[in-house]
C-alpha cells in the first residue's frame, strides 16, 4: 500500500479512545507528541499523563493495534518525557466531550468552572484525588451530585 500521510495517521489516532475515559481520544488527551516517518518506519512519540498511570501500557498496546489493523507494519513507539504532559494540551473538542460525559474539564484557575451535571457554581472539593490519577472528587451543592474534576497540572 501507499505510505499513509502523517495527517492520516493523526486522524486514525484520534479514533483511539482513552482506555479510562473512552469518550475522548488519545489525541484529545494531548499525549501523542509526534508522528513521523523515518523511511518506511513510522515513529509515534507518546508522553505519559502521570508517571504511575496504569493505563500507559494499555495505551501503547491500543496505538499499536490500531495502526497495525490499518496496515502499518514497521512501527516504533517512543516514550517522550520532556516537556512533561500538561492539561493545557487537552483539545477543546476533548474538554467539551469530558463535560458532556460528566467530568468537569481542567480549568486554569485550578478548580472546576461549573457542575457538569446541572451547571451550578456552588461547588466544593471532597478530595484532591479521584478514581484515576488525573481526577479529583468534587460535589455540587446546587444539585447535590458528586462529580469528577480533571485535575489541572
Amino acid at each position: 500500500m501507499d505510505q499513509p500521510t502523517v495527517d492520516t495517521i493523526w486522524d486514525w489516532l484520534d479514533q483511539v479512545p482513552d482506555p479510562e475515559i473512552p469518550v475522548i481520544s488519545l489525541v484529545d488527551l494531548g499525549i501523542i507528541r509526534d508522528v513521523r516517518w523515518e523511511g518506511d518506519m513510522l515513529n509515534v512519540a507518546v508522553t505519559p499523563t502521570y508517571s504511575g498511570c496504569p493505563a500507559t501500557s494499555i495505551i501503547n498496546i491500543d496505538i499499536e493495534t490500531a495502526l497495525r489493523d490499518r496496515g502499518i507494519e514497521k512501527l516504533t513507539l517512543t516514550q517522550q518525557l520532556s516537556p512533561p504532559w500538561t492539561t493545557d494540551w487537552l483539545t477543546e473538542k476533548g474538554k467539551a466531550k469530558l463535560e458532556e460525559y460528566g467530568i468537569a474539564p481542567p480549568s486554569p484557575k485550578g478548580e472546576p468552572d461549573r457542575c457538569p451535571n446541572c451547571g451550578g457554581h456552588d461547588l466544593e472539593r471532597t478530595s484532591q484525588f479521584g478514581s484515576t490519577p488525573c481526577k479529583a472528587l468534587w460535589r455540587c451543592r446546587d444539585c447535590l451530585e458528586p462529580f469528577d474534576y480533571f485535575k489541572c497540572i
Binding site: P48, Y50, S51, G52, C53, P54, L81, S82, P83, P84, W85, T126, S127, Q128, F129, G130, S131, P133, L137, K151, I153
Partner: protein
C-alpha cells in the same frame, strides 16, 4: 563524563526512596479511615511507583548490565537498597503516615526542583515530570498535617508524637558523601546539605501552622542512603514486596 558508578548510586538512591515509600503508602490501600483518603494514598503510591520506574530504569541503563527497573526492584536484597531510613519506617497510625509523607514530600519537592536544571538531560526530564506530581503531594500532606496538628486534642497529641518519632530520621536526607561530591562536580545533582535551609524554612512554617513543636535534638539516624545499615523494617517490607519473585523466580506477567 561523570563517574558512571557514582551516577548509578545516585539514581538508586532516588529510585529506592520513591519505591520504598510508594510500597509503604500502598499498604494503606483498602484500610484508610475514609474512602477519599484511601484513594488519595493509593494515587500517591502510584505516582511514586511510576517515578521509580523512571529512576531505576535509568539506573539500569547507566549500569550497563541489562538490569531493568523491575530487576532492580525485585531482585535485590536489603543491603543493596539505597533509600533513606525515613521511608522504610512502618506506617504507624494515619497521622504518622501523613507526617512521614510531608517530611519526605517537602525534601522531594525541593530536590526535584534543583534536579530540573541537572547537566544530565535524562535526570532533568524525570525531575520535571516528577516535580509536578510531588507539588500536588506536598500540598495535600502539608494540609493534612496542619488539619490534624491543629485539630482535636487527640489528633494534636498523635501528630506531635509522630513528629518526635520521625524527626531524627530527617537529617539523613541532607547527608553527603563521595557519591554526592561526584554529582556536584558533574553538575548532575546538588549538594544535599544545600537544601537544608530551604527545607527548614518551609517545614518550620507548616509545622508552626500545625501548632507542632520541632524537636531540638540534632542527632540523626543514618545508614540507609549509603547502604551501611538499614532498619530491621526494610527486610520485612521486602519479603512482602518481593514475595512473588522469591517464591517463583523469573515469573513474568
Amino acid at each position: 563524563m561523570a563517574d558512571q558508578k557514582a551516577l548509578f548510586e545516585f539514581l538508586l538512591r532516588m529510585g529506592d526512596n520513591s519505591l520504598i515509600l510508594g510500597h509503604r503508602v500502598s499498604e494503606w490501600c483498602g484500610l484508610s479511615p475514609v474512602l477519599e483518603e484511601d484513594i488519595a494514598l493509593a494515587n500517591t503510591a502510584l505516582d511514586l511507583i511510576g517515578q521509580t520506574q523512571f529512576w531505576l530504569g535509568l539506573a539500569g541503563e547507566v549500569e550497563g548490565k541489562a538490569r531493568s527497573a523491575d530487576d532492580l526492584a525485585f531482585l535485590r536484597d536489603a543491603w543493596d537498597f539505597r533509600n533513606v531510613l525515613l521511608v522504610e519506617l512502618p506506617n504507624g497510625d494515619f497521622g504518622q503516615t501523613l507526617m512521614r509523607q510531608f517530611l519526605y514530600d517537602a525534601w522531594s519537592s525541593i530536590m526535584l526542583g534543583r534536579l530540573m536544571t541537572s547537566s544530565d538531560a535524562r535526570v532533568a526530564e524525570i525531575a520535571a515530570k516528577a516535580s509536578k506530581e510531588v507539588a500536588y503531594h506536598v500540598e495535600r500532606s502539608g494540609d493534612t498535617v496542619v488539619g490534624l496538628g491543629d485539630g482535636t486534642e487527640e489528633s494534636h497529641k498523635r501528630m506531635q508524637a509522630a513528629l518526635d518519632y520521625l524527626w531524627p530520621y530527617v537529617g539523613e536526607m541532607f547527608d553527603g558523601d563521595e557519591v554526592d561530591a561526584a554529582m556536584v562536580a558533574a553538575g548532575i545533582a546538588p549538594d544535599p546539605a544545600g537544601l537544608r535551609e530551604e527545607y527548614d524554612a518551609f517545614v518550620g512554617k507548616v509545622l508552626n501552622q500545625a501548632t507542632l513543636t520541632v524537636p531540638t535534638d540534632v542527632f540523626h539516624h543514618k545508614g540507609g542512603r549509603t547502604g551501611y545499615m538499614h532498619t530491621e523494617h526494610l527486610g520485612h517490607l521486602l519479603t512482602s514486596m518481593q514475595w512473588l519473585q522469591r517464591a517463583y523466580p523469573g515469573a513474568t506477567w
